[in-house]
Each structure stands twice: as structure tokens, then as C-alpha cells.
């Protein structure tokens, strides 16, 4: 059996707040194979960005393991981690806040190279920068401009070039297109997919937009309040959504096609607080199929058909 590129084992991240413990990521088990894309979907506050950051060790996990090509990096010290960072990068959501306004485009793209000293000669670095700009579709004339001079789509291209600068194998894309207009969003999605084909990259793609995640992912993990409630291949998840939350999520998306017009199926209530959650299923207050035992014991991800995991008592 091949070793997955990324695997998490019972990964947890709790934050201490004045009101109690906030369970941002609570026992996540996922794996991503080389060259594949795992889409992580969920609503705001479900812990999807925290999960991305814990996997990259930008946040220390509270419990559990992160395996990168089979090696447990959660125990790595700073020095070992610095070496690992060359292998894993992140593209951030907001192309306006994630670029230093006082650095030019070439300085931003070259920064990871200088930090990790992968290339030492200055003219070679510049060559690499032009190379990267070419790959992500930025004209060379922008090399000495500052981020504020560019529009959102071009800024996001800078963010992508920076993530590629170290020839990393694994990239966490944290809502890379949600701040962009649809026509620009489509350009960036195409770019991200082309890069995967060309360079064999592995992605973890975090988003709240189900149509985007369907388009780009091989597998999808649906998160609700820090837990993964359903994990399946993209086709299986959309053909056969099983967890009541996944069903509700799919039923709530308005589709831009009159032939598929449906009355939106609305679930009641809102996401409850992730601070000191009660035992039992976290979706129980909003679930149309809730049973008495749902609020008593927690559920575990169970395989209902090969490769399709659901965490719900309906399938036990």
C-alpha cells in the first residue's frame, strides 16, 4: 500500500477562552494521496482553516498526529520543521491582507527562497522569480510593482507563485477564490488545476463553496463544529449524500439553472457554540432525523460503502 502524502490521526486543536475550551478541531482522521485534492467544506467557524493550519504546524496540535509521507511531524522541533516547510506551503484567502504592502512583487515571491536558501545566487533567484511569474500568468512588467497597484486576481497569482517558489509537494489552499469575482475566480481555479496536472501537486482545498469544491476535488470531507461528519469521493458524496448535515448543505445551495429549480430545503436553527460542546452529535439541535441517543453518545466515522465514511447513528 502506498503511503499517503498527508495523514492525520485523531488530530485535535483546542483553544482556551475565558468561557471555556473551544474545540476548533476535534478528532479529525483524514488522508490525502499524492497528486490528489481533498476538498474540506463547512460553514464559518467549523474549524476548516484551523485544520489546515494545524496540518502545516502553523498551530501546534493539542493532541494527535500529522504524518507527512509517513513521518510524524507533530513531534518535530523548530529546526526540523524549517526543513519541512519547503515541502508544504499555503495560499491564503485574502489576497489583500496576505501580501506585505511594503515589498515588491519580486521581493514577495523571492522571500521563501531567501529564507530557506534553496538558491543562493541573486541573479538565479531573479531568474526563478520570472519563471514563477510566467507559470502563474503574471506579465514580467509587474516585477517591480507593489501589491496595492494590482487587482485581486493578480494578487492571488502572486500568492500562488510564492507558494510554488520552493517546489513544494503539498499546498493548503485556504479559500483562495472566495474573495474574487466569478470570472476571475474561474481563471484562478483553472490555474490551480493546471499546476496540479503539470507539477503533480497535492492539495488540501478549503472552501465554503460547494460548487467550487465539486469542481476541483477528488475527495471531500464535510466538517461541522470541529468534526468530520462525512468523507467520500466527490461523485459519491454528491450522488449519495448520507449525513443529514451534508443533505441540508446540498439542499441549501441555489442553482443557477431554471431546469433544476427547487424550493430550497431549509434546516432550522444556527450553528451552536464550539465552546465546551456537549457530548453527543453536534448537529443534533438542527437535525431532522434526531433520535434520543444522538444527544447522549458521540458518533464515529463509519464506512457505509467502500470509501464512503459517515458519522451518524442512522447508519449503524
Amino acid at each position: 500500500m502506498t503511503i499517503p502524502m498527508i495523514q492525520t490521526i485523531n488530530l485535535k486543536k483546542y483553544f482556551t477562552t475565558p468561557k471555556g475550551e473551544l474545540h476548533a478541531v476535534d478528532g479529525i482522521n483524514i488522508s490525502i494521496n499524492k497528486g490528489e485534492t481533498l476538498g474540506v467544506v463547512g460553514e464559518s467557524g467549523c474549524g476548516k482553516s484551523t485544520l489546515g493550519r494545524v496540518i502545516l504546524k502553523l498551530l501546534e496540535p493539542t493532541e494527535g498526529k500529522v504524518l507527512f509521507e509517513g513521518n510524524d511531524i507533530s513531534k518535530y522541533n523548530k529546526k526540523q520543521m524549517k526543513n519541512m516547510r519547503k515541502e508544504m506551503q499555503i495560499i491564503f484567502q485574502d489576497p489583500f491582507a496576505s501580501l506585505n504592502p511594503r515589498m515588491t512583487v519580486s521581493e514577495i515571491i523571492a522571500e521563501p527562497i531567501k529564507v530557506c536558501k534553496t538558491i543562493k545566487n541573486n541573479s538565479e533567484i531573479l531568474e526563478k522569480v520570472f519563471d514563477l511569474m510566467n507559470i502563474v500568468g503574471l506579465a514580467e512588467r509587474f516585477v517591480n510593482t507593489y501589491p496595492h497597484e494590482l487587482d485581486g486576481g493578480r494578487r492571488q497569482r502572486i500568492g500562488i507563485a510564492r507558494a510554488l517558489a520552493l517546489d513544494s509537494k503539498f499546498i493548503v489552499c485556504d479559500e483562495p477564490v472566495s474573495a474574487l469575482d466569478v470570472s476571475i475566480q474561474a481563471q484562478i481555479l483553472n490555474l490551480i488545476m493546471d499546476l496540479q496536472d503539470k507539477m503533480g501537486l497535492t492539495y488540501m482545498f478549503i472552501t465554503h463553496d460547494l460548487s467550487v469544491v465539486k469542481h476541483i476535488s477528488d475527495n471531500i470531507a464535510v466538517m461541522y463544529l470541529g468534526q468530520c461528519v462525512e468523507l467520500a469521493s466527490t461523485d459519491e458524496l454528491f450522488d449519495n449524500p448520507s449525513h443529514p448535515y451534508t443533505k441540508a448543505l446540498l439542499a441549501a445551495i441555489p442553482i443557477p439553472n431554471l431546469k433544476h429549480w427547487k424550493k430550497l430545503n431549509v434546516i432550522k436553527g444556527e450553528v451552536v457554540s464550539p465552546i465546551n460542546p456537549k457530548p453527543g452529535c453536534r448537529f443534533v439541535q438542527r437535525c431532522p432525523n434526531a433520535m434520543p441517543k444522538c444527544s447522549q453518545e458521540g458518533t464515529k466515522l463509519t464506512e457505509i460503502t467502500p470509501g464512503h465514511f459517515v458519522s451518524c447513528f442512522l447508519y449503524k
Partner: protein, 338 residues
């Protein structure tokens, strides 16, 4: 023939910036809204959607935004000619607006009950405090928030509930026209579905017409009767929702816009986005504003701004459909867009 509630004729709006750049935000917008209908205004950032709404409210920023030309007729009266005092009677009473971000459109230092009551107090000075309280309770129930929470402050509510409060404020005086500027963009999908459903029900209940500004074509398909697609300060295509989503002929930009959204109903390998970016709004363009990015651009497009090609209620602002070009191209396949 149903009644016209709002008619915008040839509206031009310009912004002047500090360094004397002139930004042409709206360049001849025409639209008609009939009573009781929901009208969708679709377009990308900078297309002029919000400027259109602010012009209707007469809330363009002082000394920066100017209406250069055109008329906005509300029930036959030109609101651009009204005095500020007359306008104040209309705002919140006949026409009200919901803004995109519910977090910033509520006042953090007043209770939500007070804020819903404010609009009632302003427009009904004769109403007693007791009557206002009754009305506030009624509005809160209509939008599905328990009246026990009347004395709480905005920060104690979630995003979806804040947007419900904003909707309660906007509908408190039963306006004839509601301008909703991206009302659900800041909300999660399951909450968005709740709010959209509620807005549809309230529109029926209060017999309000609505202009819904959005960039989400899914939301448009869900609740609008007619749609205008905006690009660089112009309406480039307008029609009923069936015409925009199902007719054979479309403006190339509309096709690009639909090609940019991943389709949930089928599997596509690649998206077909539009190349390039929206033109610089400070530049005066003589030809078609979309020419630079248009895959079907012809010689004439760069020189002359196209007329509207009209078929029933469907209008497309594109040279591909004007008669003389049609004759040139004959029946050549590819003339019609799929």
C-alpha cells in the same frame, strides 16, 4: 399591463476623486420595475450595481458622486428633482435599503428594539410609544426573532439574526420598494437559504417590490422575476429570468459569466472564464465596453457603442444582434450563441 413602480431613464453617474480623476460609474442605465416584482441586478465588483441603488436612495457620497444626466421616476415623480426634505420622507418609508454587511449596518450602542422603532418614530410622529413597541414586537416576530431579545445589543446576535433585524427595520414602514444590496453574501449557505426564504415570504405579505443586487446567479434563479446583467456601468442584457437563463441568444459577457461558475449539475473538466479584466472606469470608451475581452469582437465594436437589440422583453446591447451585422453574417452558424 401591470403598473410601473420605478423607472430609470438614461442614468449617468460620475465620481470625482481627490486627484481630479473622473470615474464613469454609470453610463446610461435604463430599467423599469413593475409593482410586486423582484428584479435582480447582477454583475461583478465595479459594474455599478450599488451605485444604481445609492442613486435611487439619493445617497451618493457628498461632493464625490454626481448624477450627470437622467431621471429616476418613482410612481411617476422624478426623485432626482426632490428637495432633501422631501427625500427624507421617502427614505425608509417608501423606499428602504438592506446593506450587504449586517455587522456594520447596525448601531452597536442601541438595542435592536430601539433601532427597529427608530424608523417608525421618524415616519409616524403621531404614534404613541406604546403603539411603537407593539409594532416592534410584531416586526420581530415576523422575521422570526423572539421578542424577549428586544433589549439586547447587536453584538449579542449571530450574523443571520442581525440580517433578520436589518430586514425588520427595512420593512417596518411597509415600503413600496426594497433595495437589497447583496443581503446574503456575508452569510453561510444554510443561513442564506433561511433568509432568502423569509424575504420571499415577506415580500408577498407586505406587497413590496424588490431590487436584489447580487453576484450569485443561483440566488437570482431562485427568487427573481426579471434580471439585468451589468458590466462597466451599463446594462448589457435585460430580460425575464427565463429569457436570461434559457433563451438561445445572449450577450457574450453573459455567456462568459455563466461559463465561469462551476456547474453543480454536470461534470466539467475546465471552466471557460472571460480573459482579462474590466476596463478602467476613468477611461471614456467610445465603442462597446466589453470589446477588449470579447471573443466575438468585430471591427465595429471598437468604434461604435452598440444599440439594444430587442425581442419582446429581452434586450441585448451587442452589435452581433443588430440588423445590419446580421445581414453581413447571413445565416452563418455560430452567429447564435449557445
Amino acid at each position: 399591463m401591470s403598473e410601473k413602480l420605478l423607472e430609470i431613464k438614461n442614468l449617468h453617474v460620475m465620481y470625482k476623486t481627490d486627484d481630479d480623476d473622473e470615474i464613469y460609474a454609470l453610463n446610461g442605465v435604463n430599467l423599469i420595475l413593475e409593482k410586486g416584482k423582484t428584479f435582480g441586478l447582477v454583475g461583478e465588483t465595479g459594474a455599478g450595481k450599488t451605485t444604481t441603488a445609492l442613486s435611487i436612495m439619493r445617497l451618493l457620497p457628498d461632493r464625490v458622486g454626481f448624477v450627470k444626466q437622467g431621471e429616476i421616476m418613482l410612481e411617476g415623480k422624478n426623485i432626482l428633482k426632490m428637495s432633501e426634505a422631501e427625500m427624507r420622507l421617502i427614505r425608509g418609508n417608501d423606499v428602504s435599503m438592506i446593506f450587504q454587511d449586517p455587522m456594520t449596518s447596525l448601531n452597536p450602542i442601541h438595542t435592536v428594539g430601539h433601532q427597529i422603532g427608530e424608523v417608525l418614530r421618524l415616519h409616524n410622529p403621531q404614534m404613541s410609544n406604546k403603539d411603537i413597541e407593539v409594532k416592534v414586537d410584531e416586526m420581530m416576530e415576523t422575521v422570526g426573532i423572539s421578542t424577549d431579545r428586544k433589549n439586547e445589543y447587536p453584538h449579542q446576535f449571530s450574523g443571520g439574526m442581525k440580517q433578520r433585524i436589518v430586514i425588520a427595520m427595512a420593512l417596518a414602514c411597509r415600503p413600496k420598494l426594497l433595495l437589497a444590496d447583496e443581503p446574503t453574501t456575508a452569510l453561510d449557505v444554510t443561513i442564506q437559504a433561511q433568509v432568502l426564504q423569509m424575504m420571499g415570504e415577506l415580500k408577498e405579505k407586505f406587497d413590496t417590490s424588490m431590487i436584489l443586487i447580487t453576484h450569485d446567479l443561483g440566488v437570482v434563479a431562485q427568487i427573481c422575476d426579471s434580471v439585468a446583467i451589468m458590466y462597466a456601468g451599463e446594462i448589457i442584457e435585460i430580460g425575464t429570468v427565463e429569457e436570461i437563463f434559457e433563451a438561445d441568444e445572449h450577450h457574450p459577457y453573459t455567456i462568459g459569466l455563466f461559463g465561469s461558475i462551476p456547474d453543480m449539475t454536470k461534470k466539467t473538466e475546465r471552466l471557460n472564464p472571460i480573459d482579462g479584466l474590466m476596463p478602467d472606469p476613468t477611461a471614456l470608451i467610445t465603442g462597446c465596453r466589453f470589446a477588449e475581452r470579447c471573443p466575438k469582437c468585430m471591427e465595429i465594436c471598437e468604434k461604435i457603442s452598440p444599440e439594444n437589440y430587442i425581442r419582446n422583453t429581452h434586450q441585448i446591447k451587442c452589435h452581433l444582434f443588430t440588423e445590419e451585422v446580421k445581414n453581413d453574417l447571413g445565416n452563418e452558424p455560430g452567429r447564435k450563441f449557445e
